[in-house]
């Protein structure tokens, strides 16, 4: 049976702070009861990940982000068509759009937690800044998973809203 909550942490563990999403999954796997939570990881988003959203109540995408002024950003996502010139990159919003396209209905409530990184070069380890930001993100996840409900996550996202203008999302 499909678990109601999906947490999708994505990034390349070979590229420095790009690994923040998968590291957050490791933390969740160690500290939470996963009876109602499915964890999923990949290098990057692709169209078939829309199938993983089916029959969920809540979805959390966890990703690393370009350096910014705050340690993470958390907000709700809406579907948005991707018209970039390369097949090598998809946004979580475009995965939601694929879901809408192939299922003919709105996707489950989905949120993005993007954790600020600093360096993304091939072969680099986690930077000290990213390590600090990951700690803050873990604290947020504790809050989110204490009450994995749409209303609660929207309230938390709203609380973080004033900080959105402070950062340049990657």
């Amino acid at each position: 049976m499909t678990k109601p909550v999906l947490i999708f942490g994505y990034g390349n563990p070979g590229r420095g702070d790009d690994v923040l999403g998968p590291l957050l999954l490791d933390y969740i796997a160690r500290h939470f009861n996963l009876d109602g939570i499915e964890l999923l990881s990949d290098f990057q988003l692709q169209i078939e990940h829309a199938l993983d959203l089916a029959d969920r109540e809540l979805v959390l995408f966890a990703d690393s982000a370009m350096p910014g002024e705050i340690c993470y950003k958390f907000y709700e996502l809406l579907p948005e068509k991707d018209r970039s010139y390369t097949s090598h990159a998809m946004t979580p919003q475009s995965v939601l759009d694929v879901y809408t396209d192939i299922h003919g209905q709105s996707p489950p409530a989905s949120f993005l937690l993007s954790i600020m990184g600093e360096t993304f070069e091939l072969g680099e380890g986690l930077s000290p800044v990213a390590r600090q930001n990951l700690l803050a993100a873990k604290s947020l996840v504790n809050e989110l998973l204490a009450e994995p409900e749409i209303k609660t996550w929207r309230r938390i996202a709203e609380q973080r809203q004033p900080f959105r203008h402070l950062i340049q999302h990657k």
Partner: protein
């Protein structure tokens, strides 16, 4: 044909337009157009930066780590790097391809077919919004394509499910959805169980049906406006790829075949372990990316294309029946319509190469059908359930593995020391091999569609359509939330920035005034 546009004379009098995807790290592309005072394109260059640092990433590691390690080089086709590395380290443990256990070879082929099917299926998905692949130059084109699409409801979902099926093939063989470790030095580390085989057989007939439908769709779109699609971004080139000993299409292992633009065979069944004697890479001052060329033809004439168009052009046949029927139709189209046909006597026209850049999409989906048929054939082969997975040999200090990745020929070359540590690594990825060809196609588009016209979004879309046909590997394993907008800068002859606009990944165009 458009070589004169690579380096313009009197550059100080030209304005510069740069199309620059904003990127956080390497893996971005930029198109630079130099315009003269009359807005004529005088120079066009495509810059793609990728894979910087991969040698450093690999050197110093023990060779047995490589099949897993190199998957981190590319998030789009990690299995291709995985298998190219495995083929190279087979040699380091003294195992040549002919000595690999039969089951191990067939499992690797199955894995590879799953990867190529998955990769190519993305283009089938994109046909649901075909302006991305084919452009909408005119309302007539748009109406033609929409009329074709009416006969193919649900292609978006089919594209997604085809990708998912390829992913399941990978998962069954390598044990994991990502970061799998199926191939190891001298063979494979896991047999395929009967249950896993039966699971993959459940959907294979559907996968073949959808793949057939995909080829028919792309063919109809292409033929809905032949003069336009055959000429858009089209260039004459040499072609390079692996080939079976009998001349059949090959994706996993074979000798190198090169043909010229007239379809004449230049090199055949060439042992890829001597690739250094066939291919050299030229460095140019304006880009980090190298320009490979065939040594016998020299820098000016030796550049070549790799990938689906090259492979389908180079082979004499495809050894699966449905794909072969489609190949024959594809080649007949080339004989009837391509630029090359005009240059050949009528008696040879049917054998002409297909040079249409947009026909790459067509060739790509023929290959997808071939992969689906090959997966079915392998799943019914009793050898696929065998348990003999590893061969052993005497240590060697150098290994070279070559494979046909979805985007083209991929070379992995390693040297190790007495402690089994990699001391030297060299990779030639397909996007590098296609570097000159992509530049040529961009120049063609620039010359045909941008010269003397106002810079508009539809015109820039044409450049994007030309680039998408090659599907260059840009991100190389970094995902990219919102980081693929195109940034355009207009700089006058004195080097002053006079305008800047950005096109974001959602298609929105934003004018930026600093």
């Amino acid at each position: 044909m458009y070589e004169h546009l690579e380096t313009a004379q009197n550059q100080e009098k030209l304005r510069r337009i740069a199309i620059d995807p904003v990127s956080r790290v390497e893996g971005h592309g930029k198109v630079t157009l130099l315009l003269d005072e009359n807005n004529k394109v005088r120079q066009a260059r495509l810059h793609i930066v990728e894979f910087r640092g991969f040698e450093r990433f690999i050197q110093g590691r023990p060779y047995w780590e490589l099949p897993v390690l190199v998957q981190r080089l590319c998030g789009i086709c990690p299995v291709s790097h995985h298998l190219a590395a495995a083929k190279a380290i087979d040699q380091l443990v003294g195992v040549d391809p002919k000595n690999l256990p039969v089951t191990a070879t067939k499992l690797r082929r199955l894995l590879h077919f799953g990867q190529v099917l998955q990769s190519h299926a993305l283009h089938f998905f994109h046909l649901s919004s075909p302006d991305l692949l084919f452009g909408f130059e005119s309302e007539i084109n748009k109406r033609n394509i929409i009329a074709v699409l009416n006969d193919y409801p649900g292609i978006g979902l089919q594209g997604v499910k085809l990708r998912k099926y390829g992913q399941e093939v990978i998962r069954m063989i390598s044990g994991k959805r990502i970061h799998g470790s199926g191939a190891i030095a001298g063979g494979m580390n896991k047999a395929l169980s009967k249950e896993e085989r039966d699971y993959l057989l459940l959907d294979i007939d559907q996968v073949i049906d959808w793949s057939t439908s995909a080829v028919n769709l792309v063919k109809k779109i292409h033929c809905s406006n032949l003069p336009y699609y055959d000429e858009f971004a089209t260039i004459r080139s040499n072609y390079l790829g692996l080939i079976q000993p009998n001349g059949a299409l090959e994706l996993y292992h074979g000798g190198i075949r090169c043909k010229n633009d007239k379809g004449e065979t230049l090199v055949d069944h060439y042992d890829y372990r001597h690739y250094n004697d066939l291919i050299h890479e030229e460095v140019r001052s304006w880009t980090y990316m190298k320009f490979p060329y065939l040594l016998p033809l020299g820098k000016d004439n030796g550049w070549y294309r790799v990938g689906p168009l090259a492979r389908v052009n180079n082979c004499e046949f495809i050894d699966t029946p449905l794909a072969e029927a489609q190949r024959a139709e594809f080649k007949a189209h080339g004989g009837a319509n391509s630029l090359s046909a005009a240059a050949l006597p009528p008696s040879l026209a049917v054998e002409a190469m297909v040079h249409s850049t947009l026909a790459t999409h067509w060739a790509r989906l023929i290959e997808m059908l071939h992969c689906a048929e090959s997966i079915q054939r392998l799943l019914h082969d009793p050898d696929i359930l065998g348990q003999d997975l590893i061969a052993h040999g005497e240590k060697r200090y150098e290994g070279i593995g070559v494979i046909e990745a979805p985007r083209g020929t991929l070379f992995h070359h390693y040297q190790i020391d007495d402690n089994d540590i990699v001391t030297k690594a060299n990779l030639i990825v397909s996007t590098t091999s296609n570097n000159q060809a992509m530049n040529e196609s961009v120049r063609q588009v620039a010359a045909e569609y941008l010269s003397g016209r106002e810079l508009t979004e539809p015109l820039l879309n044409n450049v994007e359509v030309a680039i998408r046909a090659y599907d260059p590997c840009l991100s190389c394993a970094t995902h990219a939330v919102g980081k693929m907008p195109l940034q355009l800068e207009l700089v006058d002859a004195q080097g002053h920035l006079i305008d800047k606009i950005a096109k974001h990944s959602d298609g929105q165009v934003e004018r930026i005034n600093d």
